[in-house]
Amino acid sequence: MAETATHEFVQNLKELPGTVKDACFRTGKLPESEREESQATFHNLFLHIHSVRVHLRSLNPTLTFGLGLIAAASFIITLITGVLLMVYYKPSTDLAYQSMKDIHFTVYTGRFIRNIHRWAAQVMVLVVLLHMARVFFTASYKKPREFNWLVGLGLLVITLALSFTGYLLPWDQLAYWAITIGSNIANSPRELTDAIGITQWFDPGGFQKQLLLGANYVGQDALIRFYVLHVFILPLVLVTLMGVHFWRIRKDGGLAKPEDSPGGLAEWGGERREVFQPLATKTYGLMALVKGKRPTVNRGPENTVMSWPHLFWAELAVFMLTVAITLVLAFYSDAPLKELANPAIPENPAKAPWYFLGLQELVSYSAFMGGLLIPVIVLVGLALIPFLDRRAGGEGVWFGEKGEKGVFWQSLVFAIAITVGMLAFTVNFGWLRSWFPKIHQLWIIAINPGSLLVVVFAAWSLWVLRRRNSVRLAAVSLFTCFLVGFTLLTYFATVHRGPNWHFYWWPSQWPLH
């Protein structure tokens, strides 16, 4: 007996690698048949959010450009590098800057990791915006995906908030003055309450600013608030919303796509493939409980391929692409770290992070309009899109509706002309205050380049609505105007605004002082 037990023990020891692997992976080996492939997808916590088969259209890179995946990948990169940075970072006004210097100079690869963190965050903000544009222009917000559009908007806001809160943490001049500007934007309702003289009784601006900073100035209270938001609360909210977002993609039927053609031959992946009639009764087990259109409900599975391995190769490739891009950027370009924050020496110009510079440009006309009303109008307008444009059609196709491309180009040219014209006019001729120095501030709040842009864009969209008789086309025109306005204002404030927010052709012309 003893010998048998010893024998068994040695045998078990020998088989250890295999048995551990079997215990970890439910299928135990790489799938060989489609059945096993579907199990590999279905039986894995991380993969089962995918359907087991994926439509060829969804694998087409020019449908999505992988933007959502890049956004998610860049978040994972910031998460990992962020945890590494947390090990060395000290959120105290006395220590923060020195700990940044230590990360730069002595922590092993600290500078590289901080650069990756910073670049991944920049990529994330940019890609989230592009992803929103992609979803809009492929009409992918339409029923049943309205809710996921809203979740996406929430993710956009959280992404901006994450990036903004991270901006303060180095406690350098750049951080200090950018957050000072940012908190003054939060304070902007005061312009209106001041103008009508009710600030001493009703002061939402001051409340917002104090809520953000925990004080009237950017100090230790603000730093710890921003730190907690940046490393804990906002990532938690973001992960949660991301989970909901992914889950809804699956439940809403995968990526939006048009109906398959009802038979005959069609062009697919560069070749003619047979397309079958929809099979009205065909469903897959559990998923029959799910309402709405999915790849395999009411339709033949013929334009789909197995998710394992095709979809996962694609996802892995996009993830690695994001990693590679951020690594290359991080290798060649250092994240900025200016002098220690010094409340006595203002940065001039003090600029907010780049994605808020469009707002800062509007704030320079009217704090209330640029800091509160216009962003609220934009966010509410974006949120309403799927509920006001409810006619089905065009989902999952770039510029899918008839005449959409035309409206897009017209709106593009129109919005560029209006925005550039407005900026050029303002730079050359000033605004109401320069002409009527004693005018009441309420007039400027109501009539300024920012509010005029909103009105003109809205009017243009209404005109498209009436003329083209299509809600979708009106939405396209408005969204295009919004994109152009955002891009141009951001560009303008980044490049052409110098000290004292004066106009300069290039930053190299700024006075050096």
Binding site: L56, L59, P61, Q98, K101, D102, H104, F105, T106, Y108, T109, F112, D172, Q173, G269, G270, E271, R273, V305, P309, H310, L311, W313, A314, L316, A317, V318, M320, L321, V323, A324, L327, V328, F331, P336, L337, K338, E339, L340, N342, I345, P511, L512, H513
Partner: protein
């Protein structure tokens, strides 16, 4: 059917290769190519070359390639300069190239590196691990490395430099003397004393480049380079600067720069201060009074020159009176001088120099008045009996005789502002009468009872004085001229 994921597998391969290449690149850079590592490898070779005895061999054996730093919490310094400057305390490293060389002089004997660090004297970014970032000429750091010759500016942080061996801080002492010689205090405040035409210089050495106008300065854009260039020609560095060109040599500009860099009220623990510094701080509360000549040289000469002549200052477009002129000091009383010095001349560029303004004590003002007088006195002058004056007639006379130089309402022009409130308060009638009668030697002010100028009778002069007395009453020239208001009460009682 083509494989739908083929292109993604290629993408994955390429992206993964790029990732690996850059990860390896970052690792190589971090672990092998860093500047400080190359320097330390060279230093190890130097150690091997010099390991001729047991001690040398032991030093070589103990030597490790690693980040080295001096942490001095009391001074808030973590100085990693020693990561590259390995040989600063090794006396054998005299004939080697930087950064391996031993620290020159015997300063480290009294200032051990582990107690003082490096940046307390040299400035620069101590935390940096590369020379470019440590030097901090063109990176985001407030206090760039000082050139070796300027390092003595930092001695003033902990020492009373006048008590140090003069050869160690020669330039700093020269700068201090030049500051007095050039009468910088006429326009600038330092230690609570000085004029107000220029900025106070109390913390000049703590300024960062963002507090100075750098646009016209050639690189490097550092504070010390700004000071150096600015002393050579203020107008070139700061366009439109009102600062008079101090006309200094290159060496003097360096000395003044060092003196400016030494003006830094740095917060250093008491235990770091030399005993003479503590004493100096205590004495600063009760400074030794300056002599009249010293006061004049440090605080008056910048505008008044030697004071014997009045002059026209083109830069400020102003008239500067010669306050040591013989006819002034024989005419004006001590009270006249004292009122003018203590209160200044509001509206002109003569600031107040009293204890709460320019910082001169009453004794020092007395001394400087004595110095201005140069021994002359008004005591022997006999009083003049004057008739009472008519202000309206005085206006006519003023317009005919005085207005050309002293300006409308006496508001100045190419001659002093005699409508100035402090002047009107300080000047007695007798002083004015005497000045008009006798004029001012060496100035454009003629004696109006001599052959040099239209003769004014005693009555004429009394009328003019009466007119001048109306100026303070906020009545316009025009109103007096049109006889809308009664003329001022007679003021001509000597």
């Amino acid at each position: 059917m083509t494989d739908p994921s083929r292109k993604y597998r290629w993408l994955l391969l390429v992206a993964s290769l790029v990732t690996i290449v850059f990860l390896v690149g970052a690792a190589v850079q971090e672990n092998y190519l860093a500047e400080w590592m190359r320097i330390q490898r060279r230093y190890r070779n130097l150690l091997a070359d010099k390991a001729t005895d047991d001690r040398g061999r032991e030093l070589l054996a103990r030597y490790k390639i690693e980040r080295k730093q001096v942490s001095v919490p009391a001074l808030g310094a973590v100085d990693r300069c020693v990561s590259c400057h390995n040989g600063i305390d090794d006396p054998r490293m005299v004939d080697v190239a930087q950064p391996h060389r031993v620290h020159p002089g015997h300063l480290l004997d009294k200032h051990p590196v582990d107690r003082f660090g490096c940046t307390i004297c040299h400035r620069g970014q101590g935390a940096a691990m590369s020379f470019q970032e440590a030097k901090a000429d063109d990176v985001f750091w407030d206090y760039p490395l000082l050139p070796a010759a300027m390092t003595q500016a930092s001695c003033a942080v902990c020492h009373d430099v006048e008590k140090l061996p003069p050869n160690e801080v020669q330039l700093l002492l020269t700068g201090m003397q030049l500051y007095k010689q050039k009468s910088c205090g006429s326009c600038h405040k330092l230690g609570g004393r000085g004029g107000v035409l220029g900025p106070a210089l109390d913390n000049e050495g703590a300024k960062t480049k963002h507090q100075l106008i750098m646009s016209s300065l050639k690189p490097p854009h550092t504070t010390w380079h700004w000071q150096l260039a600015h002393f050579r020609d203020p107008g070139i560095v700061v366009p439109g600067s009102l600062m008079r060109n101090p006309t200094v040599t290159q060496d003097e500009a360096l000395a003044l720069t060092i003196y400016m860099l030494a003006q830094w009220k740095r917060d250093v623990p008491e235990s770091y201060l030399a005993p003479d510094k503590v004493e100096q701080k205590a004495l600063a509360l009760h400074p030794m009074p300056l002599t009249g000549e010293q006061v004049y040289q440090q605080y008056c000469m910048g505008c008044h020159g030697n004071g014997e002549f009045s002059r026209w200052d083109k830069k400020f477009n102003r008239f500067v009176p010669g306050i040591r002129g013989v006819s002034l000091v024989t005419t004006a009383s001590n009270e006249y001088f004292r009122t003018n010095i203590e209160n200044g001349r509001p509206g002109t560029q003569m600031p107040a120099w009293g204890p709460h303004a320019g910082g001169l004590t009453p004794e020092e003002i007395s001394s400087v008045i004595e110095y201005l007088r140069g021994g002359a006195s008004t005591a022997q002058v006999t009083p003049i009996a004057m008739p009472s004056g008519d202000a309206q007639r005085g206006l006519t006379l003023f317009q005919r005789n005085c207005y050309g130089c002293h300006g409308m309402n006496g508001r100045g022009g190419i001659a002093p502002e005699i409508g100035n409130p402090v002047f009107r308060q300080a000047a007695t009638n007798e002083f004015i009468v005497r000045t008009i009668r006798n004029g001012r030697v060496h100035t454009a002010m003629p004696a109006f009872q001599s052959k040099d100028a239209p003769a004014l009778s005693n009555q004429d002069i009394a009328d003019i004085v009466a007119y001048l007395r109306t100026l303070g009453e906020k009545k316009t020239n025009k109103a007096v001229a049109q006889n809308l208001i009664p003329s001022a009460p007679s003021g001509g009682k000597p």
